[in-house]
């Protein structure tokens, strides 16, 4: 028997999408494979690594722990939506490049979304709070040293902008 399909209206990076999906379809799969937004990566599928972190109504969420049908009506931001509409990188994105805060790049989208939300809450984090900000995301390449630098650099770049 074929699965029942559900109409879901998602707003992702300001664009409205209509998809028909089974109830069990993960939001991460819907974003990646139904909408083609492959910047959101899946590392563990159990909510621990943080690679799939997206912003849902401004707060961080693990796309692998949400069903697409549960995201009805939510405003979602993925890594594809972090840069300015003209393509200019956000301060967080620029800081990661400047500080060599990424190597293979697979965990990076989850860090970028996490730090973007974190700096909205705490625009001038102390060093310890900068570390805490990324303490829920796994990176196997960088040893985190340069990611912490990138958080502090991003805060500084944002202050310069504002």
């Amino acid at each position: 028997m074929s699965e029942a399909l559900h109409d879901v209206r998602l707003t992702v990076n300001g664009v409205v999408h209509e998809i028909r999906v089974p109830a069990r379809r993960l939001l991460s799969d819907a974003l990646r494979h139904d909408l083609g937004l492959t910047g959101t990566h899946v590392g563990c599928e159990h909510g621990v690594c943080g690679a799939c972190t997206i912003l849902v109504d401004g707060g961080t969420a693990r796309a692998c722990l949400m069903l697409a049908v549960a995201a009805r009506g939510c405003e979602i931001t993925t890594v594809e939506g972090l840069a300015d509409p003209d393509g200019a990188l956000s301060p967080v994105q620029r800081a990661f490049a400047e500080c060599h805060g990424l190597q293979c790049g697979f965990c990076t989208p989850g860090f970028l979304t996490t730090v973007t939300a974190g700096l909205r809450r705490d625009p001038s984090p102390t060093h310890d709070r900068a570390r805490d900000m990324i303490a829920g995301n796994l990176c196997r390449c960088t040893g985190y040293v340069n990611i912490v630098r990138a958080v502090e650099r991003a805060a500084s770049l944002q202050r310069d902008v504002s």
Partner: protein
């Protein structure tokens, strides 16, 4: 070269534009595969019933061993045969009649999506005769049960190397010690697991495979051989890869064959992407060893004889041969002269996941054995630990230094260059070794317990056989570079562009590098053994030099000048001191005499525009195009070195271990991009900290992996990594390659377990002989001491 140039890779990665294997759009919608894996560590397969599977809507095919034919029905290759591997065994792409670890592939289902494929896997019914499992080195050695019926004693290989008579030298030595040591299993755990996509083009009779591998040419050769295709009909493209650390050098994984096989049979693109649990139970692990060391030494702590035996757990199969234990057995010597040396190992079967190289590849274990021995000697003699090490160093004037052993590449273990005393001096300063005593006293006054440790290593990097590169100057003046080895985050596109920009005299931004695409460079080996910068870096340099030589010849002709008077600056070949010049893009046009123009630039190369009508349009011994191909193939590896030190604090109540300071002195010869090298060190140290304090594969006695998730297998978050990793570089160039470089990729991880063990031992006054060490382990050691 030598500048911390920002990475060209980052723009894509930062905007969601990376293309990893699961992001690949193979042209038409792909079918998705899921694998039925053994729930038992050891069992005979009596029957597989797939009758319920094809009834699942959306299922296209199910394969078991009985569906495999020809070379696909034979065992997977032993990639690196060795005469000592007398009992090498490999699995079938799908289990034939026996499974030897939890997670071994049994059936392969292809369906419209992964959800449906997993539904279908659940409907397969397998009748097993469960057999007793062999788990752990003790069980393998006791051989009360066998993993493979035809492998006596569970011994896949036994290998011994000797230099002099170590037992006699130890017996005659003024002082002797014995140590028993142990290192547990860990694994690479890249955040992206394995994955493969394939598309069969029936019109062209070609297969395209995208796979997350560390060796695209290796996969290509294996797929061609197994599917009975001419290698010219198989293209393997390695897209962005989300970390490798060794696990993706193994090939072909069963799915790397099954996916293209199904794509060809079903005439639809097929995709397989493993999930995290599959990665834990079906991709490779490493590290597990038990070691016994006997050493004889003089009053200064100088080694007179060293005799090491160890037992290496290689899991259920041996696709990667003996590389890991051979590396342990040779590289444990580090920067030291061992006196007489004997090393012997047994590589043992267990009913667990296969063991193949994980960053460091046997060196962390070897370093642990050697450095624990050095610390034991220092403690025995009451000498400073740095003094004992210095007494044993190979001196700078002793290079090249041949240990008289055979290394992992079948070549001499001959160190090319190094300066170990200078390295140690830098480390002592960086960590303030001499000032630690007063820090310890200050801490003691506050009721705090601290300790300091150090460890030294030497790493053979850049093993052969070769790498190649192709450099082509386009008519626009832009430079396209291709090298065949693959990239998993090491910044190759940036580093190789730096090399080409410098050698060819073009702006860095005009150079574009492609890696791991067999269409662009079909001759390549792979990314492992800290070899990419050394091997492909050197090949890229040589190919750029060839291109430059050709540009100069063409320009000399066009400008009627002597080659000796020409220079290339900013993409333009000029006559020194004249202002006369010609852009490389124009030379590219002239290099390719044309009959047909296709744009303004190419008009200059047509028959009525260019060339001496009395000469052949393409000169003797030349070829059209401003390009160059070259290869680099050194006689043997180049040997990088380094030394780490750490200060740790142990909690008197909870036995928690906190790293207060971590210092690294690293010598990888000349640096291409110091920012990238430091990033590699940071990442290596973090993985080392994971291996030293947190990561272990928790198998139960029946062979079930109890912690097969990121929730339970404790990889470091930022909270587990020292806040600052202090780094100093020493640059002792390698004489073996044109750039004077040595590998840097694995170095950071190698000595960390040895360093942390030494520091904890120093803090607690309890011998630390097994790693990783958890707070519970340390607590137990304290209890045992009290009792």
């Amino acid at each position: 070269m030598g500048q911390p140039v920002q990475r060209v890779e980052d723009q894509r990665f930062l905007t969601g534009g990376g293309r990893y294997v699961d992001d690949i759009d193979p042209g038409s919608p792909a079918l998705h595969a899921a694998v039925l894996r053994s729930p038992h560590a050891h069992a005979r397969i009596l029957d597989i019933d797939v009758s319920g599977v094809l009834d699942v809507p959306g299922v296209h095919a199910v394969y078991t061993y009985d569906d495999l034919a020809g070379p696909m029905a034979e065992p997977l290759p032993v990639l690196i045969p060795h005469p000592a591997l007398t009992h090498g065994r490999t699995q079938y792409a799908l289990a034939r009649d026996e499974v030897n670890h939890v997670g071994e592939a049994i059936a392969f289902v292809v369906a419209e999506d992964r959800y449906l494929a997993e539904d279908a896997v659940d409907r397969i019914v397998v009748d097993y005769e469960v057999l007793p499992a062999v788990v752990g080195i003790d069980a393998a050695r006791s051989a009360e049960r066998l993993v493979h019926d035809d492998v006596p004693g569970n011994v896949g290989a036994r290998l011994e190397q000797t230099v002099g008579d170590a037992p006699a030298a130890i017996a005659a030595a003024p002082h002797r010690l014995e140590l028993d040591l142990e290192i547990e299993r860990s694994a690479c755990q890249p955040i992206e697991g394995r994955g493969t996509v394939a598309r069969w083009d029936p019109d062209a009779g070609r297969l395209v495979v995208w796979t997350a591998t560390q060796s695209s040419t290796g996969v290509r050769a294996a797929v061609a051989a197994k599917l009975g295709l001419d290698i010219g009909r198989v293209d393997v493209i390695t897209p962005d890869v989300g970390g490798g650390f060794g696990v993706k050098i193994v090939h072909p994984w069963p799915e790397e064959l099954l996916v293209p096989m199904a794509a060809r049979a079903l005439r639809r693109p097929v995709k397989f992407v493993e999930d995290r649990r599959e990665h834990f139970i079906s991709s490779a692990h490493e590290r597990g060893q038990v070691q016994h060391v006997e050493v004889g030494f003089d009053d200064d702590g100088r080694l007179l004889g060293l005799d090491v035996e160890f037992w290496h757990d290689h899991g259920a199969y041996t696709p990667y041969g003996l590389i890991v234990p051979i590396i342990t057995s040779t590289q444990l010597l580090g920067p030291y002269k061992p006196g007489a040396y004997r090393v012997a190992f047994e590589s043992l079967y267990t009913n667990t996941v296969i063991v193949t190289p994980y960053r460091g590849a046997g060196r962390p274990q070897g370093c642990f054995a050697m450095e624990r021995t050095m610390d034991a000697i220092a403690a025995y003699l009451g000498r400073d630990r740095t003094e004992v090490r210095a007494a044993n160093f190979i001196r700078p004037d002793e290079f090249p230094y041949d240990h008289g052993l055979v290394f992992q590449d079948g070549r001499a273990l001959e160190y090319d260059s190094g300066d170990y005393p200078a390295c140690l001096e830098k480390l002592r300063k960086l960590i303030d070794w001499d000032g630690f005593g007063s820090f310890r006293r200050e801490c003691a006054e506050q009721g705090r317990t601290v300790g300091i440790g150090l460890a030294c290593y030497v790493e053979g990097t850049g093993v052969g056989p070769y790498e190649g590169a192709h450099v082509r100057v386009d008519t626009t003046g832009k430079v396209q570079v291709a090298t065949g080895l693959t990239t998993q985050g090491q910044s190759h596109r940036t580093a190789f562009a730096q090399i080409v920009a410098d050698e060819l005299g073009v702006p860095f931004d005009d150079v574009e590098v492609v890696t791991g695409d067999t269409r662009r460079m079909p001759y390549a080996v792979g990314t492992f053994a800290s070899r990419a910068a050394v091997m492909s870096g050197s090949a890229v340099f040589k190919a750029a030099r060839r291109t430059k030589e050709k540009a100069l010849r063409l320009a000399a002709d066009a400008l009627e000048a002597d080659v000796e008077d020409l220079e290339i600056v900013d993409g333009k070949v000029g006559v020194r001191g004249t202002g006369l010049g010609i852009p490389l893009g124009t030379l590219s046009v002239l290099s390719n005499p044309l009959r047909y123009a296709f744009d303004e630039a190419s008009k200059a190369a047509t028959q009525f525009s260019v060339g001496d009508s009395n000469l052949p349009p393409v000169a003797e011994d030349e070829q059209p195009g401003l390009e160059g191909t070259d290869f680099y193939s050194p006689v043997h590896a180049t040997f990088a070195a380094g030394m780490h030190a750490a200060v740790v604090e142990t909690d008197p109540d909870t036995a928690e271990i906190r790293i207060l300071r971590y210092a690294v002195v690293h010598d990888c010869g000349n640096l291409i991009n110091p920012m990238v090298v430091e990033g590699q060190i940071h990442g290596g140290v973090a993985q080392g900290v994971g291996g030293a304090l947190y990561e272990r594969m928790a198998y139960d006695e029946s062979g079930q992996l109890l912690n097969a998730s990121f929730m339970d297998f404790l990889m470091p978050y930022v909270t587990e990594i020292p806040d600052a990793i202090e780094i100093d570089h020493l640059q002792t160039p390698s004489p073996l390659n044109p750039l004077g470089i040595k590998g840097a990729g694995e170095a950071g991880v190698i000595p960390v377990s040895a360093v942390i063990a030494a520091a904890v031992e120093d803090a607690e006054g309890i011998p630390i002989t097994a790693m990783p060490i958890s707070p519970s382990d340390l607590f137990t050691l304290r209890e045992e001491r009290r009792a």
